[in-house]
């Protein structure tokens, strides 16, 4: 069974949502991609902070 399908079988409610697969999960801890996201999220957060003051 594929990794993302394992938990679907564990609970009826889990079947009604989405579970990330291996690629989506590995991107979460891929240092290069996450460094790019780090910059993007920081910029977005700074915009929200500046809009709030």
């Amino acid at each position: 069974m594929k990794e993302e399908e394992v938990n679907f079988a564990k609970n009826e409610r889990f079947q009604l949502t989405m579970i990330p697969g291996t690629v989506a999960k590995s991107m979460r801890t891929c240092v290069v991609w996450q460094f790019i996201r780090f910059l993007v999220i920081n910029i977005k957060m700074l915009v929200v902070v500046s809009k709030s003051h």
Binding site: F8, T17, I19, R28, Q34, M45, K51, S52
Partner: protein, 489 residues
Amino acid sequence: MARLVVLGGGVSGHTAATFAAKWLGSSHEVVVVTPNSKWNWIPSNIWVGVGQMTKEEVTFPLAPVYAKAGINYKQAKAVSINPEGDASTDKPFVTIEYTEAGREGQIATVEYDYLINATGPKLNFAATPGLGDANGLGKFTVSVCTADHAEHAFEELTKVIAKMKAGERQKILIGTGHGMCTCQGAAFEYIFNVEHEIKKAGVRNMADIKWISNESFLGDFGMGGLHMKVGGYAVSSKLFAESLFAERNVDWLIGAHVHKVEAGKAHYELLDGSMGVEEFDFSMLIPPFAGVGLKAYNKAGEDITATLFAPNGFMKVDANYAAGAYENWKASDWPKTYQTPSYKNIFAAGIAFAPPHLISKPMSSPNGTPINPTPPRTGMPAGIIGKAVAHSVCDLITKGVNAHLHEASMAAMGAACVASAGKGLFDGTAAAMTVYPVVPDFEKYPGTGRDTDYTFGEIGLAGHWIKHILHHLFIYKAKLNPGWTLIPE
């Protein structure tokens, strides 16, 4: 020389007092009355609760910082406010009770020209029998609301992990301990940090982990949920939250009002009116919040607490408290200046102000029990409001009583929330979210009530790094180290 008295040295009060002291300089006086000797970066208590940080790493002593800022610091708790003075003086004052070692219980009065009430929440454990009593946390569950509570939570967590290692299956229950709780975000962070630590300990297969909360859907967070941009879609936070729970194999029970806690048992009522019991070996349940219970008296000594405070103990400010039914709620009901209507020299900042109403849709069970999250009171709005209120007071002092008041409505303010889902420089993750505005404005954003360009969320290592950096940055700022004013709230 005018005197500003700030009650509470937490996120909001500390921000207000330090900025006011900087802007007013030595020609006016800033006094902080707060019962704690240490400042606590509360969001990192989550990591203390899983043993990834120590209490010392999330706290620091206030006295040297206030000495550096020229702030008159009184380690005491405010008991009451006399906004008109009393029979012997026309000058308004607060009555305080010292908590400082060696002076405990001593009563004094502090006169003020301007007062900022930033006393935050009372952790109302007593609202649920068994969750705690009037003196605090009970013996059946743990909490992460203070650094001491979080240390205790870690001790208890260590015991259940040891039992799992010894082959004993354990049931973990984390969430909210009452139908009217807020702060689901903190419990959300804690459950995923606990899950992460149990996995790291190699005993995930020995743990049944369950979420219990008063939200009517997962991902409500007391804000009626939110829609965020993910992969080009505007997605409900319900899907985002359910996905995270399913991925980590964490079951959930929602729409639950925990009404009694016993050893290993949480008794609850659900939105459909049914009753049930959830068993546990380890449980962290957030208590509901209330105001800290300050009293107020007029010049004649009559009790005017109900004039200054709402029944839940939070201070009434410039909000519309008469908005009525959910259908009539508007973004403009939310306060802008945080000035109390009855006394123009009193302001409330941070959690201490009374919100006009909920943000989430009000719900109750067929038995009439209200089961709905109360509005979230996160750190960023608490800091921004503290700064705006300090700015207003400084202008009133330096420019005169007709000075323009600064505004910081939660309906025109965003919040950046980073919910840790496991600590680790390369294997940690966090859900980084921004919401704009915190209170949805359906007149301005008719679709979702919020600007979906600035309401977004994603899970990953980047969020964890941000959370870690924020920890150091905010402690650096709170210590008033060089350049502290450049770090945004």
